[in-house]
């Protein structure tokens, strides 16, 4: 088939355009949150003392970090789903959540007595954190990867990893309302590992799923 012949076929097929990326992204996020909500309430549910916990700054700060992660990774993911996006120009946005959590850690190290640091870091729920964040996040990750597949990422492995971070941000936001370990020292350690698992999973599957 010659190129001008191919063009005839493509032009004749001009009516059926793919669904707009905006629609796909917001649809994926909506369903991802529904899935995460369902899994969260089926398996865990919020901690019983959530009303009083919500009065404490440490508890609330967890949400600042996890929502910042979800939002920045999602924004980046949308950019990376377009072929012309140069990752070097946009990756710095991802530093928002790490910068926040590190600032939280610095303040914690100042206000908390040194002898409590290790108990705060180890916490009581580390294993649960490592189990349930990936478990809540796996559905959202699958949905975000499907949306990514509809796009045209020039760097599918990287974009897959970012999808994992976004899914991890969503999952961690839910998990944070269950977990009683509120210290930034706990968050920076265990949340990071749990979200990292999803990012790794996203990178490994993204390169296959989002090929085009």
């Amino acid at each position: 088939m010659e190129t001008h012949e191919l063009i005839k076929a493509l032009a004749a097929d001009s009516r059926r355009t793919g669904v707009a990326m905006n629609t796909v992204w917001w649809g994926a996020v909506f369903v991802a949150i529904v899935v995460a909500t369902t899994v969260f309430f089926a398996l865990l549910g919020p901690r019983p003392d959530i009303a009083s916990a919500a009065q404490t700054i440490r508890f609330l700060f967890k949400f600042v970090v996890t929502i910042a992660l979800a939002a920045s990774a999602f924004g980046l993911l949308r950019l990376l789903s377009r072929p012309e996006t140069d990752p070097r120009g946009v990756l710095p946005y991802l530093a928002v959540a790490p910068a926040l959590v590190l600032a939280g850690v610095a303040i914690e190290l100042i206000v908390a007595p040194a002898e409590t640091w290790s108990t705060r870091l180890v916490g009581t729920n580390s294993l649960q954190c490592l189990t349930f964040i990936p478990l809540i996040g796996i559905g959202p990750l699958a949905l975000l990867l499907l949306a990514l597949r509809h796009g045209a990422p020039s760097h599918p492995t990287l974009a897959g990893a970012i999808a994992g971070l976004a899914a991890g941000g969503i999952a961690a936001t839910f998990y944070a309302s269950h977990c009683t370990d509120d210290s930034p020292l706990f968050v920076v350690t265990w949340y990071t590992i749990a979200v990292g698992v999803l990012a790794l999973l996203g990178a490994l599957t993204g390169r296959h799923v989002a090929r085009w």
């Binding site: 088939m1 010659e2 190129t3 001008h4 012949e5 191919l6 063009i7 005839k8 076929a9 493509l10 032009a11 004749a12 097929d13 001009s14 009516r15 059926r16 355009t17 793919g18 669904v19 707009a20 990326m21 789903s81 377009r82 072929p83 012309e84 509809h150 796009g151 045209a152 020039s154 090929r211 085009w212």
Partner: protein, 177 residues
């Protein structure tokens, strides 16, 4: 690429996305010209530049919803071409099958403008018979949708569906092998 070309190309593409078939054809011809010049400078001795052109056009077609109509079109276009060139080089690296003599033959063949069988022709072979006959009728035989419908004794909707699915299957074959 100067600003005027970029603007008129973007205008063509916008018209195409709004459903103007003629504008789409013109846009694709322009895109082919740009990608051909681009690929000839980069793919020498590697994949055939015309294969890159055709795979890029297919990718443009199935991914055209990823272009935002207020963005410039050429960076988007060349990003797709680059992705397809890298893909073709990777494929070739995995199954090296081009000998020097073949390249020489090909250069000679191009000089006398012989009709060659491009990769896309091989992809066409893998379609279902129904899709293949529709794609061939409209591309190689140059029929319109309604002419193809009459000659293949199908209704126009079925022709459109077969064309759409056939092209998507060819694009998938290149993208996800």
């Amino acid at each position: 690429m100067d600003g005027v070309d970029e603007r008129s190309l973007a205008r063509l593409f916008r018209a195409a996305l709004a459903g103007d078939e003629r504008a789409y054809g013109n846009f694709l011809h322009e895109a082919a010209r740009l990608v051909r010049a681009w690929a000839r400078r980069r793919a020498f001795g590697g994949p055939d530049p015309e294969d890159i052109v055709q795979e890029t056009l297919l990718a443009i077609h199935v991914k055209r919803h990823t272009w935002r109509s207020d963005d410039p079109v050429t960076p988007w276009l060349y990003a797709i071409a680059k992705h397809k060139l890298v893909d073709a080089l990777r494929r070739q690296g995995r199954h090296p099958r081009v000998e020097i003599s073949e390249v020489e033959d090909r250069v000679a063949a191009e000089e006398v403008e012989t009709v060659r069988d491009w990769e896309i022709g091989r992809a066409l072979e893998t379609l279902t018979p129904g899709q293949r006959s529709v794609v061939t009728a409209i591309s190689v035989e140059g029929r319109t949708i309604s002419e193809a419908a009459r000659s293949l004794d199908m209704n126009e909707t079925a022709v459109r569906v077969a064309l759409h699915r056939g092209l998507a299957a060819i694009a998938r074959r290149f993208g996800r092998d």
